[in-house]
Symmetry: C2
Subunit: 491 residues, 2 copies
């Protein structure tokens, strides 16, 4: 795919100067339109061989467009903070809002390209890295982020000449890095690697444009028209996967809602499991792991109370509770998992989600806040998200607190009668209650789709609050012990 | 101040249970009122001797109030990321928005208390830490953050007894840390230190409440009423400093606006200074420093063009350009420096502010967006902010690009006539131009107040763009060289 670029095509400077005003106009008005419509974000991915002038291309775009609507996202080797999170975390954190434009440099292609350029690339790792990219970009495209991917390339001679010219003068020599100097020696291998990368990741919804980079005017021109043409095109979403929603089994019928704990038994059992959980998260092995806890369930199922019993086993400095409410305007201007990625736990920490990303396939599905295509593809996206957490070493436990319809009614009435509990009950709760069956169906579909080995659901019969609280702490303690390989006598 | 608390007062459990509903009601309705008015944020600072039950107090507040409006901010030893920023950075980052409530644990008191508790405290350091706290809290109080400071204390015997009881059982033993065990041995010293801290930082606008902590019911009750009473009280702002705004000298008259560079000289000089700057920021000594650059100046003074010439000397991965526009709703719900603290550079990095925190004393002053009391106290706050950066090792250079009124008119007209420059000129620019004198006065006051040794202003005559661009890169290169102690032959 690089044959044309290696011809090192040249554009006379005069030609570029003649075309420049029109190009700049076009880019500026496209940017204005993007800002006004705010129907999508645009992410320009700048990649390619070292020493091809990628840096100048980034400068060019910030010069020709309105810098207030552009943000350059440049990534180097991961910082300590970054490496305490899954690899994709830093890219998620920086996703531009709808209506704005980001230029990514040192992107999620870096690892893939580096692996492909090794003397003996690890085929398996290559396949996995390429799948990760495909999933990430497909998610971005579906969630309203348009990808414009530019690969900078030039011939071996041109690359070497460019480096030599820069090196010849002390004022520009600093621009030439060791990896730039390496390029001409390893040129064949790097070109083959580039070929692998571009071929494997040229998706209909996220195409590569090869930018011939030997001549500055040509590089400038090719960059500008690639961005212009992409922004003019209608943003393509990946073709939706056929939904595989067979009727899901009803998991709620299996639960025994009559289970109970008397006060004394409760206190002993709770203290026991809190102690085990506390010892587990204070185990040295936990320092390189983390814990993400999801709490879902119908209204008044007792999530808050269970979370408080849980937190008694944790150091306030190592945990964070996220009470998830309706998304803010900022949240809505990004892919919906964005706000949850922000709160993913770092190593050694516990993140507790009181309601979670599952809102997408529960309340947003039932209330129609998400379109069918959106919540249907969310199962895949959520599985992918949780897999990334687990692969990074995060222990994921998801608790569903299940109560019967009768018990809910009783709790609603109690809430209404006790003044300091009244804030917990709103018209929304009564409205949701009328949709009991729809919520139950959504939950059953969700279990069928997301009860994975890596990140299982614990369904907990919660008509008795004491029983439920112990079960919650127990499920989490056992999961952490198991993940860390801590042996305990059976209970 | 701890005599009462060391009597270890007790409250019968029944009494608390009788009072609980009313207390919870009061707290919930105060929280609701806070949320609705959103006229301030509330920050509950939890501090005190170890082993006094601070953690339970935090749990209590989250249990009795609506957890959706509360965020626990718990700080331990600084992470690597945190230590790459000035000490206060992590507290700034977590400031709650107006209308919400934060509980701070492991706060800005930790260092002060630790120093005070040493066998031979460093008097100078103590004085400095206490001043830092006074400045920070005064700023918070002025900027609409109400501080509720709770100091947990109990007698030496009660503290020891509490630890022993917890340690006696394997399920609770984990709650007792080494520092808890240390307390009774060092009790006298710790109490004296606590006394120092509380006395030195009991400000009218940020009072301490001592919470007797030996008895759980008493601790709970005292915590609840302290928060309730503080939230009922009208939020106090510190008494404003008398403004010291004597007529400031006119710095613009000193500039020679006729200075010019011809194209060839320009290109040589620019390349030279870009090279020097590039070498300076690639110097190993820069790895533990950072660079914060501020660009201000009238409209059309050429800030954007100067910044682009500057960035040619920098690696795109080590810098970030912040184009500062009007504050967002999120920004407005915090102290105004909050959004700038977020973008403070980490070690080894360059942060470029295209307009900056100086907006407070320029556009916000002239246009009346900030009240006189607000912009007048901003000089102090800004000096304090920049001092913190410099103390941390950040090199701060502030460039003011100055053009004559005639030159501005010419540039405005050019912008209107070239289509791809038209986006740069709006009705606002013409409006601002009519307030030329007011802006100039504001700028002169700003120079008089904030042209400090640590963070100086460079005023650059910019009627000739080439001359200005070289001067900008030169000023920055020299500042970095000087800060790093790099010797160069004179130019």
């Amino acid at each position: 795919v690089f044959a044309d670029a290696e011809l090192d095509p040249v554009m006379p400077r005069d030609d570029l100067e003649r075309l420049e005003p029109e190009l700049r106009n076009a880019l500026l008005s496209l940017q204005e339109e993007l800002h006004e419509r705010a129907d999508r974000a645009v992410l320009v991915v700048v990649a390619g061989v070292d020493g091809a002038g990628k840096g100048s291309a980034i400068n060019l775009l910030s010069e020709w467009m309105d810098p207030r609507g552009i943000r350059t996202l440049a990534f180097g080797a991961p910082t300590e903070e970054e490496s305490r999170h899954p690899p994709m975390w830093r890219y998620w954190a920086e996703l531009p809002a709808r209506g704005s434009l980001g230029i990514v440099f040192g992107s999620w292609y870096a690892d893939f390209f580096r692996e492909a350029a090794r003397k003996k690339p690890d085929r398996k790792r290559l396949a996995r890295l390429s799948e990760d990219i495909a999933r990430f970009e497909s998610m971005l495209a579906s969630e309203g982020v348009q990808l414009v991917k530019l690969w900078y390339h030039l011939s071996r001679d041109a690359q070497r000449r460019r480096c030599e010219e820069l090196e010849a003068h002390p004022d520009t020599a600093w621009r030439v890095s060791d990896s730039d100097r390496d390029v001409s020696r390893k040129f064949k291998r790097l070109r083959a690697a580039a070929d692998t990368v571009v071929q494997a990741t040229d998706f209909p919804y996220a195409r590569w444009t090869i930018v011939p980079s030997a001549d500055e005017s040509m590089r400038t021109y090719a960059t500008a028209i690639a961005v212009r043409d992409a922004m003019r095109r209608r943003h393509l979403s990946p073709v939706a996967q056929p939904p595989k929603l067979d009727p899901s089994p009803d998991r709620f019928d299996d639960l025994d809602y009559t289970r109970k704990l008397e006060k004394d038994d409760y206190e002993a059992a709770l203290a026991h499991w809190q102690g085990r959980l506390a010892r587990a998260v204070h185990d040295p092995a936990f320092a390189s792991r983390s814990l993400a806890l999801v709490f879902e369930g119908s209204d008044a199922a007792g999530k808050g109370g269970a979370i408080r019993r849980l937190t008694h086993a944790l150091d306030v400095r190592q945990m964070r509770i996220m009470a998830i409410a309706a998304p803010s305007a900022e949240d809505l201007s990004r892919p919906y998992l964005w706000r949850f990625w922000r709160d993913v736990p770092t190593t050694g920490r516990v993140a507790i989600f009181d309601r979670s990303w599952y809102g997408r396939v529960l309340v947003e599905r039932v209330e129609g806040f998400a379109k069918p295509a959106e919540w249907k593809r969310a199962y895949d996206e959520i599985r992918d998200f949780e897999e990334q957490l687990v692969e990074h070493g995060t222990i994921v436990v998801k608790c569903w607190l299940a109560i019967t319809k009768e018990e809910q009614l009783e709790r609603f009435r109690e809430r209404e009668s006790v003044p300091f509990k009244r804030y917990k009950i709103t018209a929304d709760d009564w409205r949701n209650r009328r949709k009991w069956t729809a919520y139950r169906r959504a939950a059953n579909d969700m279990f069928a789709q997301t009860d994975t080995q890596a990140a299982p659901w614990a369904l907990i019969a919660s008509d008795d609050k004491r029983f439920a609280r112990v079960e919650v702490v127990k499920a989490i303690a056992l999961a952490v012990e198991q993940a860390l390989g801590i042996k305990q006598k059976k209970d």
